[in-house]
């Protein structure tokens, strides 16, 4: 039982990332009808927002400390981050330590801006073009974004550690009544899961309970009629694109401590996220979230020693296998609606 629970928990963090990216993809697809192959790149850019903020915080100046000497006997140069000299060493160090969570705030306006610029600058011109063209142009954009990031940050993964307070593990099992050391779980993964759950809840609440969200949902159902009612639906859809980009970016920011960001992390997640969207049902937001968590947990079960000794490498292919089986048995995906992307 505890082993079972542990595998479910293990799947949650990847599942959260899949769910967040897939949610963004579905939002874009549901509103604008565009297949965004650059969505993985947005995830990656989010992660690099955290890297950038960390670098900004640790920008430092050098002073010569006459009281200490380095191994050659010369006075030692000490680097002090500007932040520490402005806010005092304690608060400064704390700010640097918490740079990843702070990057969440930092990344939201950036991602909204990038999403907005992307939609207005590029995607807008592709509504009337065939889906293949949309896929191709966003694919090209993904390559470009990826290479630009590689140019500035290099090809190696960059460490973005979680705050020291959230770095260790916690004995979850003991908290809920199992014996000690049965379920030990890294704190940051829990944080990531709850963060993802929060973001998902926020997106759904935004769509469900605000007037803006209501109009967007109406536009998703029947764009033309909403337009005829004198509502500028295009503008709202552009904002939704920005929000979808922000969701992907947030997923990336917080994912840094789990997996050091590198420039091709987006592509790795993109393929899986597409599979998630298809399994969940194209255009269905709850489907995307459900399928994201489901496939994440499934992957974690397939990586147990028992599974990998029975069928070697099953953890590598399980998601694709499930996707193929689901598409053959339920062509619309788990929660796909009739009439969405039928052709």
């Amino acid at each position: 039982m505890d082993a079972f629970l542990l595998q479910i928990l293990n799947g949650l963090d990847k599942g959260s990332a899949y769910a967040l990216i897939a949610l963004g993809l579905t939002l874009i697809f549901g509103t604008l009808g565009v297949v965004n192959f650059a969505h993985g790149a947005l995830f990656m850019i989010g992660a690099f927002c955290a890297v950038t903020l960390q670098r900004l915080f640790t920008l430092s100046f050098e002073t010569i400390d006459p009281t200490r000497t380095d191994f050659l006997g010369n006075p030692m140069k000490v680097k002090t981050p500007y932040i520490e000299s402005w806010f005092g060493p304690d608060i400064g160090a704390a700010i640097i330590d918490w740079s990843v969570p702070l990057a969440v705030l930092f990344s939201i306006p950036i991602m909204l801006g990038i999403g907005y610029a992307m939609e207005r600058g590029l995607i807008k011109h592709f509504y009337k073009r065939p889906h293949a063209d949309q896929i191709l142009v966003t694919f090209g954009l993904a390559i470009v974004l990826q290479e630009v990031v590689k140019y500035f940050f290099g090809a190696n993964p960059i460490q973005t550690p979680a705050p020291a307070a959230l770095r260790g593990s916690v004995d979850l099992g003991q908290m809920i009544g199992f014996q000690a050391n049965a379920i030990i779980y890294p704190i940051w993964r829990l944080v990531y899961f709850f963060f993802a759950a929060g973001v998902i809840a926020a997106v759904f609440a935004f769509l469900q309970f605000t007037t803006f969200g209501m109009v967007v949902r109406a536009g998703m159902a029947d764009r033309e009629t909403v337009g005829l009612l004198g509502i500028n639906i295009d503008r709202r859809f552009t904002i939704m694109f920005g929000i979808a980009a922000a969701v992907a970016g947030l997923a990336g920011v917080m994912y840094g401590p789990l997996n050091p960001p590198n420039y091709h992390m987006g592509m790795d997640f993109l393929v899986l996220s597409f599979v998630v969207v298809v399994v969940g049902g194209m255009g269905s937001l709850p489907g995307a979230v459900l399928a994201g968590f489901l496939l994440g947990v499934l992957e974690s079960f397939a990586s147990t020693t028992w599974a990998t000794t029975t069928i070697p490498g099953i953890n590598q292919i399980i998601i694709y296998l499930v996707a193929i089986i689901i598409l053959l048995t339920r062509p619309r995906g788990l929660m796909g609606r009739k009439g969405v992307m039928e052709d």
């Binding site: 290479e147 490498g313 052709d343």
Partner: protein, 401 residues
């Protein structure tokens, strides 16, 4: 000639001349001149031109004719490579059975994949093929390379070892892929003044194959079957309403293009007897999409041009470094020179992918027909420039259509 009309015959002859004369055409600069770095006439690169040309022609039969965008074609290429290397390992280094087997295996594999993927169209199809290709990649990379059942040799890649059986191999034959004793690496070098031209057996084998499959592609394009595929592209629903089941046609196109990819994979292994999983990764599938689009989707010559273009510039751009740039901009004043080098720097060397990405986006946005359309537009523009009145007359007659 050969059942082609005049225009297609000319096209075939042009392709034949280009491929057969490639060692000359691609080596326009003397070997020891400063421009020699733009020469592309060495066997390894020429083989890649032709092999990727074959791959792209095959991809175009599916994408250009039916409009089904597959993101999984690299899987067939990889499967072809693996089967060819297995023939080398088990039986003989002769390339003929190896390439034949890779075509057959890739065909069977694409039949399976197409049977499942073609149940859906549009984006679903793209994503399904993508999922299949990634699955094949994972299979080749890790699953099928465990000690109990080692089919692909994982990360190292499948290659021929000295203790492999090689049943029909004899000492008289070269220890490399060969065609009845003619080693694929046999190269005749012709020195003419400052120029030197390499004539490589492997390249010419690939070139002959390219001409054959190009001819086949023309026949497919002009056949009733090709017409049917085009009808699928323009309006599949209407085809279905008329009571016609389009799936056998699309499946046939899928299998044919899969076989082309397998052929390319087999040839790739025949030129260099090893096969690795990275050939199957979806970025490799993306590359063939780039080639086809860049050259011109749905045109005959486009994919070959696109493949040559990308492979040529990949090679040249990766070779250019800052020193070369300083040489180019040397005529400028110093400050300006440095600024130019600084500006161009991100796009060369390792930045080639950035250039490719930007180029690709520009082509998709402004020139959906690729290089071929670009050429046509240029031609029309020149004609209009030259014979102003002719052009006017032509434009006036257009609305009558």
């Amino acid at each position: 000639m050969l059942g082609l009309d005049k225009k297609d015959t000319t096209l075939l002859i042009i392709v034949a001349l280009l491929t057969l004369g490639a060692p000359f055409i691609l080596n326009p600069f003397p070997a020891d001149s400063a421009m020699a770095q733009f020469n592309a006439g060495y066997p390894d690169l020429m083989q890649r031109f032709v092999i990727f040309g074959i791959f792209a022609i095959g991809f175009n039969i599916l994408f250009g004719l039916t409009g089904y965008l597959s993101f999984g074609h690299a899987a067939f290429l990889g499967v072809g490579s693996y089967s060819a290397v297995w023939i080398f390992k088990l039986f003989t280094y002769n390339v003929l059975p190896a390439v034949a087997l890779s075509v057959v295996v890739a065909g069977l594999f694409s039949l399976l994949m197409g049977f499942v993927s073609l149940r859906r169209s549009g984006i679903y199809f793209s994503i399904l093929t993508l999922a299949f290709a990634q699955m094949s990649f994972a299979l080749a990379y890790s699953v099928l390379s465990n000690p109990r059942f080692n089919l692909t040799n994982g990360e190292t890649g499948l290659q021929v070892y000295a203790d492999d059986p090689q049943l029909f191999h004899s000492d008289r034959l070269p220890d490399l892929p060969h065609l009845f004793g003619l080693s694929m690496r046999a190269t005749y070098r012709l020195d003419l003044g400052g120029w030197s031209f390499d004539f490589n057996a492997g390249y010419y084998l690939c070139a002959v194959v390219l001409m054959a499959v190009f001819y086949l592609a023309i026949r497919i394009f002009r056949s009733p079957f090709g017409m049917m595929l085009r009808a699928v592209k323009s309006n599949q629903q209407r085809m279905n309403y008329t009571g016609l089941n389009t799936r056998p046609y699309t499946l046939a196109a899928f299998v044919i293009s899969g076989m082309y990819a397998g052929l390319a994979g087999g040839l790739m292994a025949a030129m260099d007897p090893l096969a690795g999983a990275e050939r199957m990764q979806w970025t490799a599938s993306g590359e063939v999409v780039l080639m086809t689009i860049l050259g011109g989707t749905g045109t005959l010559i486009g994919p070959v041009l696109g493949a040559g273009f990308i492979k040529y510039f990949e090679n040249i751009f990766s070779k250019i470094n800052d020193n070369v740039l300083h040489g180019w901009f040397g005529f400028l004043p110093d400050g300006l020179e440095d600024a130019m080098v600084f500006l161009v720097h991100p796009f060369i060397g390792k930045g080639w992918h950035l250039t490719l990405g930007i180029l690709f986006m520009l082509v998709v946005i402004f020139l959906p027909g690729g290089l071929v359309e670009g050429g046509q537009r240029l031609g029309r523009w020149i004609r209009r420039r030259r014979g102003g009145k002719d052009g006017e007359a032509q434009r006036k007659t257009e609305p009558a259509e």
